[in-house]
Structure formats: C-alpha cells, structure tokens
Amino acid sequence: MSEKEEILKKFVEASAGSDEEKVEEALNEAKELGDAQLIAQLKLIRGVDIGDEEMCAEAAKEAVEAGMAPYKAIIDGLAKGMEIVGGKYECKEYFLPEVLMSADAMYSGLNYLLPLIPKDEKGTKGKIIMGVVEGDVHDIGKNIVKAMLTATGYELVDLGRDVPTDDFIESAKKEGAQVIAMSTLMTPTLMSMKTVEDKLKTTGMKDKVRTIIGGGSVTDEWRAKIGSDAYGKDAMEAVDKVKMLIDQIMVAVKKMKETEEEEK
C-alpha cells in the first residue's frame, strides 16, 4: 500500500469512527506529503461528513485544479463522504439534521463538478426516475435518498413533488429508465403509488421498469399489496435496493435481447 493509500485509509476509518484526533493527523500527513489531489479528496470527504458547504465547494475546485478527473472527485470524494454519513446515520451517530446538511454540502461540490464531466461519461450505470407522488408535497425524505443515490453515480431524473401519476410513466419511457422511485410521507397519498403501479401494469411497462417505494407512511406490507418491487425503510436501504433492482433489470433486459437475437 502506498503512503497515499495508507493516509486515505486512515482518514476514512477515523471519519467513520468520529475519531477527531486521527482525522486531524491524517489531514496533516497528507499536507506533509504535499499531494494536492489527496488533500482535495480528503477535504471533499470531510466537507460532506461534517456538512460544510463551503469546504466542499472549495475542495471541488481544488481537486480539478490539481488535475483530478471530475468524475473521480465525485466518486472518490463526495460519494465516499456520503457513504460515511450513511453509515453514521445507520448506527445512530448521525440524525436527520446532519444528513440534510451533508446532502447540501455534497450538492455544493456536485454543482461545480457535474458540468465539467464530458457527456459520454454520464449515465452509464443506470437511470432512475424519482419523485413524491401525487397529492403530497413533503420531499425531505426523497431529497435524502436522492443525495445518497447521486453519490453512487446513477443518473437521476427528479420529478419533484406532487407528481401526476402519468408523469412517472411517461418520463420512465422517455428516459429509458430502469427504476421508478416513489415517496410519500402522508398516508392518504399512498393510494397514488397504487395508481402508478396499476398503470404500469395496464400499459405493459411493468416488465421494462422496476419500482421502489418509501417514505414515512410506507410499509413493506403496502409494497406487497400494490405489487411494487422493493421497499426502502430508510435512505441507506433504498440505495441498496435500487442497486439490486438495476442489476436485476439489466440482466433481464440483456436476456430479452439475447432471446430476441436467437429467434432472429
């Protein structure tokens, strides 16, 4: 392991364990090493971890100036930071406010980095349509999931809140998305999720796209009842399940194409 890798490893572990002293140590070691890319990377991770928007924006700029590829800065910097935040949320170290602030910090870095990525590098992993279902305007939960998913490198189409049911379907068609992710906080609007599911079935879209649902009032029983493909009880679980769904659908689509070709 190179010295650079060792510092990075130490820093990530210390951040995940909230060992402030070790974090400081690793930062100093990076400075001593004088590796501008490494320093920027650590700052990106740190900025997201502690929810510091300015630090992230600054570090994003520094990373690019130091010659780091924007895509790498996102994945190895911002996304790594978000992964740490997710872990801390899961073990109850972090709570809602920290996650929301980390998300803001991550976006401040993303806003700088995303426009710099060449077009052909985008959207290779998978595409997700997401939104808060018709009738509901509460979008904090959706925004957290969005931040977590962005950090994984998937391409996201955020339809916002109070999204008419047809828009989910139209947009999935138009964008060729693999997953539709729907959220709601309120209970009456659970019905809107069912409407989307029903329409997917009647329009024959159900084989082409997978759905995941989540939000304050959503349960796994509801998922089973309306025939959605997955339920994420929190943002972390949502990300894991989206990954699973995308893998599933990619395999399924590949198989479909193969059989089609064989038939030819």
Binding site: K92, E93, F95, L96, P97, E98, L100, M101, D104, E134, G135, D136, V137, H138, D139, I140, N143, D162, M186, T187, P188, T189, L190, M191, S217
Partner: protein, 656 residues
C-alpha cells in the same frame, strides 16, 4: 416440527398509547400491559373477579377463543359483540391490537381543560321564555299557536312573524299547555333570519337552559357543560379521542376512511360521537342536569376532525393543495350527528381557515383577541398538529405543522397521559447530576407525561448528558449510573424500579429523544418560517400566547431551552391553556362571538409551509437543541456557557 428452541412470540399493540412489543405464546394480556407500563386497572390481581381490566380487541379477537363464564359476568352483551374481553383472562396466541378504554384506565386524568377566561356577556342563540297564556273561552277562540305567539309578543315583545314552531312539537303542545294550566316555558333558537320554537315545557323552567361546548382534539376531547343563562361553566369533562385506534394522526384516520368507504366513515364518526356523548353524560350527572336540558352544542377542532365528526368525505382535503370541504360555520340538527341532547337542539361547528388550519386555531385567535391588538403577537397552539398565527389588527397569518404526538406521550417508550402517577416535572442538578421528579398527586411513578418530556431533554442538555445534537454523551456514564446502554442503545433512568409503581425502570431512550427532537423542530420551523415570510424576527414579537393541552403545567424556560419556539424573554410568554376550549365556550354563549369567528375565518390569511423553499434547511437547523445557530438563542447560549456546556464559539464541550 419446530426446530428452534426459541418460544414463539407475537406482537401486541396497545392503543391509544401506541406502545408495542413481542410476547411469548401464552402470556396473559394483563402481564403484557404491565410490561409496557400501560395504565390498565386491575383490583383483584388478575383473578378475573373484579372485571376492571376490560379491553377491546381490535385485531386478533378470534385467537382468544370463546368467551369465559367469568367474563360474561362483567361484560354486557353489547360489549362482547364489540370485541371486549378481560385482559387477565386473555392469553396471547396471535398478534393482537388492543384498545384500552377510558373506564379501564388507572388514575384520574388531569382534565387540562383550563383555559383563558375572556369576559364575554352571555347572549346565547337559545333563550327560554316563561309565559302565562289566557285560558281559551267562547269569546277567545284563537288557535293554541296564536295564543302562544300573542303572549310572547305581549310579554317579551317577540315578533310573531319571525317565529316558527318546530313541527314535531305541535302534537304535544296543546296537551302540555292545558295540563300546565297554560303556564309554559318556550325555548327559542335563533336561526339565520328567523326564530324557531324548539320546545315547550310545562311550568317555569326558564332557569334551566344549558348548552355544551367541546374541543375535539386529535388526541383529546375536552367538554364543557354551560349554563346559557349565566354563561358560566356548570361542569367539565375530558376523554381521549376514541378514534385513535383508526389512526394516531389525522391523516391515517382519513386514510382509514378512504380505504374503508362509507362503513369506515360511519365508524370513525360514531367513535368520536361516542366519546363526546360520554362526556355529556358525565357532565350532566356532575351538574345534575338532564340531557334534554341541553339545547345547543358548539364544537371546535381541526379541519380533519370537522370532516370526520360531520361525516364529510375527507379524501380530497388530504391531497395537495388541501382544500377544505366547508369553510363557514356549520349548523346541523344534533340528532343527525347522534349527539345526546334535546332532540331539537342545534349543533354548531366553528368555521375553519384551510385544510390544515381549523376551527381550533380560529378559537385560539378569538380567545387571544390578537386581531384587535396593536402589538404583534404570536399564537402557538401546541398539539399533534401545531398551529401558529402571527400578526396584529392589520394582518394575521396562520400556518400549521405536523409535529406529531410525541409531546402527548405517544410513541415514547414510557410516555403516558397526564394522569395520577405520571411524572410531570423533572430536574437534574447540573453539577451533582442528582435527579428529582414530581408526579401527579405525588403517587409512585407509572410513566412520563408531556410536561416532563419537555423538562427531560432540557435538563439533560444543561447537565451535559446530551449534546446539542441530542445525542447521549456516552462518556457521562462514568459520572452517573442513570446513563447506561440498554437493549435499544443508550438510555437514561428517570425512575428506578423500587421507587416506581411498575416492575421496571422508567427510562428515556435515545429514540425517544429523537422523536421529541423531530416534534419540536417542526414547531420551531412553523414559527420561524412564518416570521420570515412576514419580514420579522423574534425580536418583533411583543407577546407569545402558548395554547394547548399542556395547560399551565409546562416549564416555559425549559421549552425555550430545547427550542420549541423562538427565544423571547420569559415575561413575553403567556400560557393560555386550552384556548380552543375557551373559544368553543365563547361561541356557544354569545351571538357576537359567533359572528366574530366567521369574520376571523375570512380575515386570517393561510400560509402553506410546504411551499416554503427554506423548509428543509430550516427543519434541519431546528433539530438541534435549541437551534443550530446559537445567535438566535442568546439567552440559552449564555446559560449553556455559564454551565460550561459550550465554549465561546458555541461548540459543545465533551468530557475528557
């Protein structure tokens, strides 16, 4: 064949508490209730002889098998059909949902019906007139009706052209009049544009004219039997809202109705009316009033309660942009709602403002008279749904936030309602970490109620046991054995087993603190965004009225320390208790007040928080204790600095 040696476990949920856990096959329901600190009564120690532990099984009834002979002794036929059982004789064999009715609950609930007393002259819509009619003779052959109308005109100057007799009393009237020797009391209700004679009673009953006012809260009902002649309270009563098994918050209740259709709509209506009727009967008994002497009823409550109570289809109000069905005040014949009262009584529901700002908020604005004031005031009505109003006579705006029932003790591990034995106040000495608590009626503690749920995070913060983010400071476990790691993570002991009336330590968990944090953050966000929208800051507020079920029991400084509302000097906070109940009484006893609430409903401007772009970031900041930016809380900052909890920069000082 069972491979596992683990005994089978089933989840049991107790309502309206919302507490749940898994229990082994064969556990007695009464024992399960004790393990969860449910306030279920039992005098015989679970032998099935006292019949006090009546519960209603809402889900899983079939698993309990046939009713036992000793149960039959204590339960009426209606109760058995309604799913009632005795908890001491029921054994858990499947997942259960259990409702603990008011009659089976230990301890007297503190009424929390006290509210602001606003001087209002009684000028009710219902009046009684004692008349002595001339006896009919061959020279005076007027109809019975004309005889009455003429006498009313002569004695009380009532215009016969505006008076209508309710048709269903015409049949009995001639008989009553003759038997009473033509001396009767006429009850007149003022409808829009006319007067209705709603009943005729023999003799002089003009001294006995009653009405009933009720605040229908999502969690609690508070009722007042009022003497309409004097405008004074004759009796008060309160109950938990029996709708909670159909959903703890108003939205889940609306969903139940949407999914269950007409049947569910009737059921949820019947539940709340059942609770209200119980209060009416209780009040009548206390004040020695006959139910038939209640001639008018007046209700306030949020918009969801309005729809569920009046049986208005609530679905569309639950969807953005949340339009209410009826905004104006509603007059309905009381029997149409199955209310216990005189059969010709009128029920009035105070107008609402919007889908999420209801008659309860109007009542608070009415009771505090904020629309008449020069000074800027803010009303905060704390509850499951917290409503906020801000302004003065030039403009009052109002919003609402879903703060959840945490401060009512729901979804809190040992949270209970404010009844005998509830821990109602807690203080911790910041240096010795010694804890003192006070319970209602000084009885051994059984759980923690709302006012103490405000004290606890405040005291923990001041003592350095939780940090500004609400996390337990684990290092402090070395200083006090009350802080410890439990099955669900860190927890803090409020009362030890040996001092408590339960068989376990009463603790507050990290999860509980999180629930309280989210609730207080929602309230704070509602207030903060309202100020910002009006271009104001907390410094512009001359007075803050704090209303809600807490009554006057909460410690205003502790509530401020945790950041429930914007920070003001203590003297600017005024507690008005159940101001919604006060408003309901005012609208019952005064025609002017009823006109006034209609005016409020068209004057106050509703502000939809959900559209505020700052909502999310503001909510995140408000999740801190007291708030992320301590500059907005200088008094609390100074306090924490003095106690050595934070440094000059406002950073929390963790123990070495």
């Amino acid at each position: 064949m069972k491979l596992s040696s683990e005994p089978e476990k089933f989840e049991v949920i107790f309502l309206p508490h919302g507490r749940r856990d898994f229990f082994e096959l064969g556990t007695r329901l009464l024992d399960a209730s004790r393990a969860l600190a449910i306030d279920l009564a039992s005098d015989c120690g679970g032998k099935g002889t006292c019949g006090k532990c009546k519960v209603r099984i809402d889900e899983g009834l079939e698993s309990l098998g046939k009713i036992k002979p000793s149960e039959e002794k204590h339960l009426t036929k209606d109760m058995i059909e309604g799913g009632y059982r005795l908890a001491c004789l029921a054994k858990i064999r499947a997942p259960l949902k259990v409702y603990v009715p008011e009659i089976s609950r230990v301890g007297k609930q503190r009424l929390q019906t006290e509210g602001l007393e606003v001087p209002v002259t009684a000028n009710p819509f219902v009046r009684k007139y004692f008349v002595k009619m001339p006896v009919p003779t061959l020279h005076d052959v007027r109809s019975d009706e004309d005889r009455l109308l003429d006498t009313l005109k002569k004695q009380y100057k009532l215009d016969p052209n505006t008076l209508v007799m309710e048709f269903d009393i015409a049949n009995d009237f001639p008989k009553i009049a003759r038997e009473a020797n033509w001396e009767v009391t006429v009850t007149v209700w003022k409808d829009i544009g006319r007067y209705k004679i709603i009943t005729i009673e023999p003799g002089d009953t003009s001294g006995r004219c009653f009405g009933f006012a009720c605040d229908i809260g999502s969690t609690k009902l508070a009722g007042f039997l009022m003497d309409l002649n004097t405008g004074k309270v004759a009796a008060v009563g309160s109950r938990m809202n029996p709708q909670t098994p159909m959903g703890e918050d108003v939205l889940s209740r609306i969903t139940s109705v949407m999914m269950g259709g007409k049947e569910a709509q009737d059921k949820i209506h019947n539940l709340v009316v059942g609770g209200i009727n119980e209060i009416i009967e209780e009040c009548c008994e206390k004040a020695n009033v006959n139910i038939n002497e209640i001639y008018e009823l007046c209700f306030v409550g949020n918009t969801a309660m309005q729809m569920l109570f009046l049986r208005l289809w609530p679905q569309y109000t639950a969807f953005s942009p949340y339009p209410p069905v009826l905004r104006r005040g509603v007059n309905v014949p009381a029997p149409k709602l199955d209310l216990k009262s005189h059969p010709n009584a009128n029920a009035y529901y105070v107008p609402v403002i919007g889908g999420f700002v209801g008659a309860d908020q109007i009542a608070v604005i009415q009771a505090t008279r904020m629309l008449e004031r020069e000074e800027i005031t803010m009303d905060v009505d704390i509850g499951t749904n917290t409503e906020i109003a801000l302004g003065n006579r030039d403009l009052v705006t109002s919003d609402s936030c879903a703060s959840g029932p945490a401060f009512e003790g729901m979804e809190i591990k040992f949270g209970i309602r404010a009844a005998t034995g509830a821990i109602e106040a807690v203080s911790i000495d910041p240096s010795s970490l010694e804890l003192i608590h006070r319970t209602i009626e000084d009885q051994p503690p059984v759980g923690i109620c709302g006012s103490a749920l405000i004290d606890i995070p405040a005291e923990l913060l001041k003592s350095g046991l939780i940090d500004l983010k609400g996390k337990f400071v684990s290092k402090m476990a070395e200083e006090t054995n009350r802080l410890r790691k439990g099955a669900e993570g860190w927890e803090y002991v409020i009362a030890w087993t040996d001092e408590s009336a339960t068989e376990h330590d009463i603790v507050i968990t990290q999860g509980d603190i999180r629930e309280l944090q989210k609730a207080k953050a929602a309230m704070h966000t509602g207030a903060e965004l309202m100020l910002r929208m009006r271009g104001m800051t907390e410094k512009d507020i001359d007075k803050m009225w704090l209303a809600g079920a807490f009554g006057n029991y909460i410690n205003p400084e502790n509530a401020r320390t945790i950041g429930m509302y914007p920070e003001l000097p203590t003297e600017k906070y005024v507690f008005v208790g159940n101001a919604a109940g006060t408003g309901a009484r005012m609208s019952l006893i005064s025609q002017e007040e009823r006109a006034y609430v209609e005016k409020i409903s068209t004057t106050v401007v509703y502000y939809e928080l959900a559209t505020d772009p700052d909502f999310q970031s503001e909510y995140a900041r408000a999740n801190y204790f007291p708030y992320q930016d301590l500059n907005k809380y200088p008094l609390t900052r100074d306090l924490l600095l003095r106690l050595g909890r934070i440094d000059e920069k406002g950073k929390f000082i963790y123990p070495e």
